[in-house]
């Protein structure tokens, strides 16, 4: 079991580092997935609302938001808390990225994306992570995870991402 957790953990770290590159990601879509708790990485099956094993929760690094929203639900907060645990115990730095869907004006979207990133960063710092370990950047609508002009694409783009540096 532990080996599986470690593999998932390493994959999660690798995945979160790769989100920093300007690589075009192919989408592996779950239709009808809800905004919260939906994964964009196929390898984390069944990690939805389980409390078992900090490794599975922390492996999730992307959090989704409703239109014009930047609030996090309890499940996401729990998941972010496990990132906080890692940062407080092991040190290191995390960059929190905020993103929006494509609609609306680009610079207003940059500001909205920052609200989302800051919401995540605030959870980290509330759990004791030092503010010097956390940086925030917003890409607004400039780095969509999924291209497309409908809600199935937009819901995948309204997100915050924890990326370890």
């Amino acid at each position: 079991m532990r080996k599986i957790l470690i593999v998932l953990l390493m994959s999660g770290l690798l995945g979160s580092m790769l989100t920093g590159c300007a690589k075009k990601q192919s989408s592996s879509e779950n239709d009808g997935s809800s905004q919260y708790g939906a994964q964009d990485k196929v390898r984390f099956y069944g990690a939805d609302s389980s409390n078992e094993g900090g490794g599975q929760l922390m492996a999730k690094d992307t959090y989704y938001f409703g239109y014009d929203r930047y609030d996090l639900d309890d499940e996401d907060t729990l998941s972010i808390n496990s990132h906080a645990n890692k940062l407080t115990h092991n040190g290191g730095n995390a960059r929190i990225e905020g993103h929006t869907d494509e609609r609306g004006s680009r610079e207003y979207n940059v500001a909205l994306g920052e609200r989302r990133a800051k919401a995540i960063a605030n959870v980290l710092m509330l759990k004791g992570v030092d503010q010097n370990q956390v940086s925030v950047v917003s890409y607004g609508s400039e780095k969509p995870a999924k291209t497309g002009h409908d809600e199935s694409a937009w819901s995948k783009n309204r997100r915050g991402v924890v990326a370890y540096e």
């Binding site: 004006s105 610079e107 940059v110």
Partner: protein, 444 residues
């Protein structure tokens, strides 16, 4: 690209890890895309070219025809309907042009002297010429000597400007330029470029390239520099690039937002959006001293500053009232007033040069994002576009046309519409997407 610029790009794009993108991204030509092709009927006769291989000379008359036609103010006679080819008013038979319902006529000639050219043109009032009377003098009659071949296109645009000013009474935009961002997919990922071209898409030049997003190009009032936002190494920063040399200067790289730069009309300051302390709020940066002055305060997001032409106020987007709307702040007092009340969302404001009208990105109750014109005197609002997925409106410096980002077949293109709603135009990229246009000022 010249060798100098190639080396410059390589030094500046070490982040590309040795990737040199293939062909320079460029736009197609600005073409008419619908609307009413109406306006003053004019004809531009192909200029006579004396004693030279015509294929090597820029077709001046075609450039002038395209300029006048795309302005939306003229209905230009097509070449296939032209049967007489006068090169000066002496040769013009007015009854022929009057039978074609032409009101103004442009004729001209090109002569080669050594390696340089002499270009002459006349603008003639066909409507006023009465038969049986002596020929009335031309509205314009000019000669340009010692023109190099490479400058013939620019001269054609200048002649268009002279014609436009004479007939319409307003400064033309045919010698202006646009800046814009292109996004192309390569096997190394997405490559973004900041480019400039003539207003019609001709002659694109790459100023900066990156694997990271580029945003918000904004011209200095003298047309010599462009401010823009970059995200090198996952951090936002505001920079300026000198158009003639490609030299980059970093202006800000604070924690948080470094966003939406806007040059003051006197060229000495940049308004910008930062969130390092509170925010996002609008700050004024003195370019010489780099001193910061926080201009807006209070809750919510303030962004997208745009200077009034007298430099005494700035209009901006703010959601301090709940949803994004446009506000104006007076620079000396800090007093803020709200300007837009129609629609559920207004952002990315531009003022027309006379300050009387406001262009915004506007969302209606159905959630469609279009470009809207707000009359600040009487509050009337007119929506200028229909497609619903538009952004980044930028006004021509004579206030007569808006260029904006649109979507076509999954790619970003540029589109334009005249403020009187007469004409729609489009300007797609040759490959990939183009977005975030910024129209240059008049001066160069």
């Amino acid at each position: 690209m010249s060798i100098h610029k190639k080396i410059f790009s390589m030094i500046f794009c070490l982040c590309l890890l040795g990737v040199m993108p293939s062909a320079v991204a460029s736009l197609r030509t600005l073409i008419i895309d619908g609307g009413q092709i109406d306006g003053l009927p004019v004809a531009v006769v192909p200029f006579s070219v004396e004693g030279q291989d015509k294929s090597q000379i820029e077709d001046i008359a075609t450039v002038i025809q395209n300029d006048l036609q795309t302005s939306g103010q003229f209905k230009v006679l097509s070449n296939q309907n032209i049967r007489q080819f006068p090169k000066s008013h002496i040769e013009v038979q007015y009854p022929y042009w009057q039978s074609l319902k032409i009101e103004d006529l442009v004729v001209g000639s090109v002569q080669k002297n050594g390696s340089l050219f002499t270009v002459s043109f006349e603008l003639l009032d066909v409507l006023k010429q009465k038969s049986g009377e002596g020929k009335i003098p031309p509205l314009l009659s000019m000669r340009f000597d010692n023109i190099q071949a490479k400058d013939l296109r620019a001269l054609a645009h200048h002649i268009s400007d002279l014609i436009f000013q004479k007939i319409i009474g307003t400064q033309g935009i045919f010698s202006t330029r646009i800046a814009y961002v292109t996004v192309k997919e390569t096997n190394q990922g997405l490559i973004r470029s900041l480019e400039v071209s003539d207003y019609d898409g001709y002659g694109p030049k790459t100023l900066f390239q990156s694997r990271y997003p580029l945003m918000s190009p904004n011209w200095s009032p003298d047309g010599k520099k462009i401010a823009f936002v970059s995200f090198e190494k996952e951090r936002s920063s505001i920079n300026t690039v000198e158009v003639s040399t490609g030299r980059i200067d970093r202006i800000t790289q604070f924690p948080g937002l470094n966003s939406a730069p806007a040059w003051s009309p006197d060229g000495r300051k940049l308004a910008a959006v930062l969130s390092k302390d509170v925010g996002p709020k609008i700050y004024i940066i003195d370019l010489a001293s780099k001193k910061l002055n926080q201009l807006t305060t209070g809750p919510g997001i303030d962004t997208e500053p745009f200077w009034a032409s007298d430099g005494r106020s700035i209009v901006f987007t703010s959601d301090r009232g709940g949803k994004p709307q446009i506000y104006r702040v007076a620079l000396n007092s800090g007093h803020v007033e709200r300007l837009t009340f129609a629609g559920t969302y207004n952002a990315k404001p531009s003022l027309t040069p006379d300050g009387k009208n406001l262009i915004t990105l506007h969302r209606n109750e159905e959630g469609l994002f279009n470009i809207a014109l707000h009359n600040l005197t009487n509050g009337a609002v007119r929506v200028l576009t229909q497609t619903g997925l538009n952004d980044s409106p930028t006004l021509a410096p004579n206030g007569m046309m808006v260029l904006y980002g649109a979507q076509e077949a999954g790619e970003g293109i540029l589109s334009a519409v005249t403020l009187d709603g007469r004409l729609k135009l489009r300007l797609p990229a040759r490959a990939g997407s183009v977005q975030e246009p910024a129209w240059s000022p008049f001066n160069f």
